[in-house]
Symmetry: C2
Amino acid sequence: MSTWDAKIKKVAIVGVGLLGGSMGLAMRAAEFAGPIVGVGRRRKSLADALAVGAVDSVTMDPAEGVVDADLVVLATPVGAFEAILRAARPALKRGALVTDVGSTKQEVVRMGERVLGRGGPFVGSHPMAGAETKGPTYARADLFAGATCIITPTAHTPRGSVRRVEAMWRACGMRTLRMTAAAHDKAVARVSHLPHVLAAVLAQMPTDDELQVAATGYRDVTRMAGGNPEMWRDILVTNPKAVAGAMAALSKRLGRLGKLIESGDAKAIEVFLDAAKKRRDRTIGRRFTERRVAAE
Amino acid sequence: MSTWDAKIKKVAIVGVGLLGGSMGLAMRAAEFAGPIVGVGRRRKSLADALAVGAVDSVTMDPAEGVVDADLVVLATPVGAFEAILRAARPALKRGALVTDVGSTKQEVVRMGERVLGRGGPFVGSHPMAGAETKGPTYARADLFAGATCIITPTAHTPRGSVRRVEAMWRACGMRTLRMTAAAHDKAVARVSHLPHVLAAVLAQMPTDDELQVAATGYRDVTRMAGGNPEMWRDILVTNPKAVAGAMAALSKRLGRLGKLIESGDAKAIEVFLDAAKKRRDRTIGRRFTERRVAAE
């Protein structure tokens, strides 16, 4: 039995990478005493997850993995969710909660309700935590500590299920916040997906010669481009409208700024830079500790 | 007499902020034994520069400051250079070298030759080092150590003057690299000025509500927006053509990518992200140590 939810006696984590592995360790740290099953596609990851104590048993078969589980967490790239849920559905226990750690929510939540039924067990989650490292060997019980998890219930999601999923994330050390999937996807398009796209473009723009003048500003602004291409492909493919909207909004702002620069309007440029600095210093800079290095 | 150049017996540093102050400390660390004069506009900065040992005497008058100096370094924001040089010119010693630390070079070098004469004492420099901190109290003798300084001679610059300025930067711990001012400005537009502009736009795009989902990726991508607005205004105003060109090149790439995202071309998106990751990991990520935090 879990310390935060008497109904959760067994957990299945599908995808035992950094996030999935860290969830296993975080639940153990929260004194969850029941079995945790790890489901994965690669023997090496499963073996590593076992070795670090993130899971107690492993299988490559989602249907086998979810048997008797009261909580199922999807922690693979988003693009794999539907196939996993369809494979697991026949074996899913009645009353089991299903949630995920995906970085986009509209398509995921729609798919979850389509495959498992409206008013059914699926509750979308997006824990805003991560690291530059990859794989269960880097899993940490405190990966989620102090960070925010967005929960995206629909009009059909039972309130009790929402509260139970929130309790699980809080047990892992997170602050929880409810949003609609649409509001979530629009917000992350602007603060995460658009920055990632820009980092990826900037990483490919300079020639080798031009890179000789690159300094740490360039290093930091392109850091996100080092993220997992498969994961980010799934993110962009499942949030196309909001990402394209954010790109269009950026282009409009860049166009206006370009005119100021070309016309040499020093005063207007300073006003723009000053507003950016104030916004950055007052609202953004202070919201993060240095400990958590990346998060999508 | 300096250890690296027998002709340099006295130095004047105009602008005693983080860079100017660190130059004083770096020259001392390189066992320069002569007097270092600090010139500035604010009593507080001058007092701080004196207190940390970056300079030996201070004045608010550029003409007074450069008297008898064999090397004059301009370390204020670029926009102040011309007025300082015009004020100092009548007092400048015959044969004195003049260089600067400005982040743009075409306008600066043109101005330097216009005010001091072609084939005269002005040699443009851009030390690619800095930090998030500001002011002489944060000055460090090792601020420049291991970083690159771009030197931008023109067809008129005496080769001996170029070599002497390079020797000074090497004494401060830097690697030196010669480029034309035009090539320099185009390269920094793409690896420094464009990223700064994007950071400043991104810092102002999300609403307060949207910022609730911001994570460390957003923090890093907007970090440059915390830079000094006055310095960055001068950078953008003195490099408008290259910056506008870089913005246009970015918009073109974003437009192409936007089409891939809207059409849901998962394979092409992954190829793009994969190429960005490879470029970032292989060429950019490994070029920087974590010690130097910012540099423009």
